[in-house]
């Protein structure tokens, strides 16, 4: 098991390096940089820019140096927690994004827990009651959940909540807590507000997971060992939970790898619609204004979250399924 963990961590390092190179390339692809856009914008509105300050900043952040040096500077900074400087906010990036990254992580993880909590019982129910009316209804609901763009679900929920409950559900907490340090009431307020984005973001993933669990479990339930277990008089619940469910769970856990990017994607766009204080809206504006370090740090953060999520799911899978850890051990 230990060798498996070490192996997985060793794989993660080159992956993260490659990701950082890709991200740096992407944020440097547009012609010009933040300052050229900025100066053009100022000139467009007839103002003059403080050229001396801009030149100082350009020099300070090495825009005159070759790209690979800029990359090393940025990646080196990332290693000891320096995310760079946001030009649009005139602040170091970690000052700008601190809370937002935390909230993104909170929303994403809550969404995944929600997905599991909902998909698990419904998937089992659907598989054991195949082709019943409720199964058909749940399948239909699942398909609708897959097909509805999440941002529109968000809009409609916002509207309905406004009309029928008369509450504003934008944001992740009561406005009065926005700039305050973390405290118990703030957490409570967060809990009160978080469920709507969680439902909205989680709907597509939940639907997909229900379908997959149902299909897997149905495959297992047809196998002969289940028939044997039933025939020898094992309690139906035990004949379901002890073996078939455990087998059907494998894809369930390895799904974190695909679920996490999906959740983060969903969160990015839903947060724009619902104006959540997470990474989405800020990433959008950073991309538009070429605030490269800010955009780069967001992308890096999201990708790392996924890589770590895949790592965790692989570990859980190895714990659950001895075949995987034995195979991995043999390969070395």
């Amino acid at each position: 098991m230990l060798s498996y963990i070490v192996h997985r961590i060793l794989i993660m390092v080159p992956t993260l390096i490659a990701i950082s190179i890709v991200i740096f390339t992407i944020i440097n692809l547009p012609p010009g940089n933040y300052f050229t856009t900025y100066i053009a914008e100022l000139q467009g509105s007839g103002e003059t820019a403080d050229l001396a300050k801009i030149q100082f900043l350009e020099k300070e952040y090495g825009f005159d140096r070759p790209l690979w040096q800029q990359y090393l500077y940025w990646a080196g900074g990332l290693l000891h927690g320096d995310l760079g400087y946001s030009f649009a906010y005139d602040l170091p990036v970690d000052k700008v994004v601190g809370d937002r990254m935390l909230l993104t992580a909170v929303v994403s993880i809550t969404t995944i827990i929600f997905t599991y909590l909902v998909a698990f019982p419904i998937g089992i129910y659907s598989a054991t009651h195949q082709y019943s009316i409720s199964d058909h209804l749940l399948t239909l609901l699942g398909f609708l959940g897959l097909a509805t763009p999440s941002f529109l679900l968000a809009l409609v929920l916002l509207y309905l909540a406004n009309v029928y409950f008369g509450i504003s559900i934008g944001g992740l907490m009561d406005p009065k807590y926005l700039d305050q340090p973390w405290s118990w009431p703030k957490v409570v307020s967060l809990m009160e507000h978080i469920w709507i984005p969680v439902i909205v973001i989680g709907s597509a993933g939940t639907a997909a997971m229900i379908r997959r669990l149902r299909a897997n479990l149905l495959d297992e339930l047809q196998k002969q060992y289940v028939v044997t277990a039933r025939a020898k008089g094992l309690h139906p619940l035990k004949a379901l939970f002890k073996y078939p469910l455990r087998m059907a769970l494998n894809p369930f856990i390895s799904d974190i790898g695909s679920l996490l990017p999906q959740v983060i994607s969903g969160a990015a766009i839903v947060s724009v619609v619902m104006s959540l204080p997470t990474t989405g809206p800020m990433l959008l504006s950073a991309l538009r204004s070429q605030d490269m370090y800010l955009a780069g740090s967001f992308l890096m953060f999201m990708a790392s979250l996924t890589v770590i999520g895949v790592f965790v799911s692989d570990l859980a899978l190895a714990l659950l399924d001895p075949r995987i850890r034995l195979q991995a051990g043999r390969r070395q």
Binding site: T15, I26, A147, L152, L158, P261, I264, I269, M302, A303
Partner: protein, 401 residues
């Protein structure tokens, strides 16, 4: 084939056996050694059928998939003739009817069945709430004209024309789904928008299919270091959340590009990220298949890798590839909708369902002019249809099961 049927003869008595010759019958008909293998015409049709024919038979039995396929077919035929289907031009504005609500079609007038008609609006500006108020006026009966001459258009930007499937009555209006903030007919714009929204998925999937087959093929066929490198690269791509990456990439597209170029840029971006799943499927299938005898035979006969992959290996799982490609299209349609909704996708004057929905970003708009959400309906319909059709195709893809 090899089963020898035992035909019981007349009961024999051992004692008699030696004495009298057996009373037996000899057929004079010519001997046909294949009599056992002969099949009824129906059987023959089944056994001789090509793989694609069998896929088609199996798909036909999947009723939901057939319905979904019919809907998709109708949609795709529709986008080739949207100039004809749309009652108005894509940019025709009726400045007197800004944010007009949908006009329902009536077919009964005073209890009698009549030609379909809509009711004209009475317009009033509520100065207190600064709201445009449209009330349908039962006296203004406007019979819809069919196969009529209306707004001029250039069919496929090539041939001028003005024939429409339906037009408003002379001097009347036909806003079946209402109008937007510039007084443009939403339904016409949705029909035109389908052109972009539906083709984005097709072209995007074509891009990722090409990439997936090429890259997955190389990885699976050569194995070894190439395989490891490609797999790592795919892992890197997969660990990006799609939407933020799409956002970053489409933010790169220069502002100076024409809408058409931007459209192709967006499809390319959508296709470039999604190929990894296909490449994985191709790779794992190839890894299994290249050990088969027919593949070795081809290699021994001197076929080059491209031929071995393209001629011998790929056809073994083309149907699976097509099924999984079909299931990828909805993701791309949703992706384009999301990008355009955020203003990073297709740019006006080009229209897509996402561009139309970006008018409904604001909750006030949703509350006041809910009909602007109508494009969601077509998005959901298209995505559902692709999902059901792809599911049916996947089940049918392996007809030998």
């Amino acid at each position: 084939m090899s089963d020898l049927t035992f035909v019981p003869g007349p009961p024999r008595d051992r004692a008699e056996d030696a004495a009298a010759p057996l009373p037996h019958f000899v057929s004079t008909a010519p001997y046909d050694p294949y009599a056992v293998e002969r099949m009824t015409p129906a059987q023959e049709r089944f056994y001789v059928a090509s793989q694609w024919r069998m896929v088609w038979w199996k798909l036909r039995r999947h009723r939901v998939a057939v319905v979904a396929g019919a809907i998709l077919l109708a949609m795709y035929v529709g986008i080739t003739i949207c100039e004809f289907l749309a009652p108005y031009g894509v940019d025709s504005r009726s400045t007197d009817f800004i944010y007009a609500p949908p006009q329902p079609v009536h077919i009964f007038y005073r209890g009698r069945l009549v030609a379909p008609y809509v009711l004209g609006f009475d317009y009033r500006l509520d100065m207190k709430r600064l709201e445009r108020i449209y009330t349908p006026n039962p006296k203004k009966r406007q019979t819809i004209r069919f196969f009529c001459h209306g707004d001029r258009y250039e069919f496929w930007n090539l041939f001028p024309g003005n024939l429409h499937l339906a037009c408003p009555a002379h001097g009347g209006q036909l806003f079946l789904l209402g109008t937007d903030r510039l007084g443009r007919d939403l339904m016409s714009r949705m029909i035109y928008g389908a052109r972009v929204s539906l083709t984005v998925g097709l072209i995007g999937v074509a891009v990722s299919l090409t990439l997936g087959i090429a890259i997955g093929g190389i990885a699976g066929y050569y194995g070894g270091w190439t395989d490891i490198l490609i797999q790592r690269a795919m892992e890197v791509i997969q660990s990006f959340p799609h939407l933020p990456l799409w956002m970053a990439l489409s933010a790169i597209l220069p502002v100076s590009w024409s809408p058409l170029l931007v459209y192709f840029g967006i499809t390319l971006i959508l296709g470039m990220i999604d190929w990894t799943h296909l490449a994985r499927a191709v790779r794992s299938k190839l890894l299994a298949l290249r050990e088969e005898d027919f593949c070795t035979a081809a290699v021994l006969m001197g076929a080059r890798p491209v031929r071995v992959i393209g001629r011998h290996l790929l056809p073994s799982f083309t149907s699976h590839l097509i099924a999984s490609a079909t299931l990828m299209i909805p993701g791309m349609i949703l992706g384009e909708t999301a990008l355009s909704f955020l203003g990073l996708g297709v740019r006006p004057p080009m229209t897509s369902w996402g561009v139309l929905l970006s008018d409904a970003q604001n909750i006030n708009v949703v509350a006041l002019y809910p009909w602007l959400l109508a494009p969601v309906g077509t998005v959901i319909l298209a995505v559902l249809a692709f999902n059901f059709f792809g599911d049916g195709l996947r089940d049918a893809a392996d007809p030998y099961h």
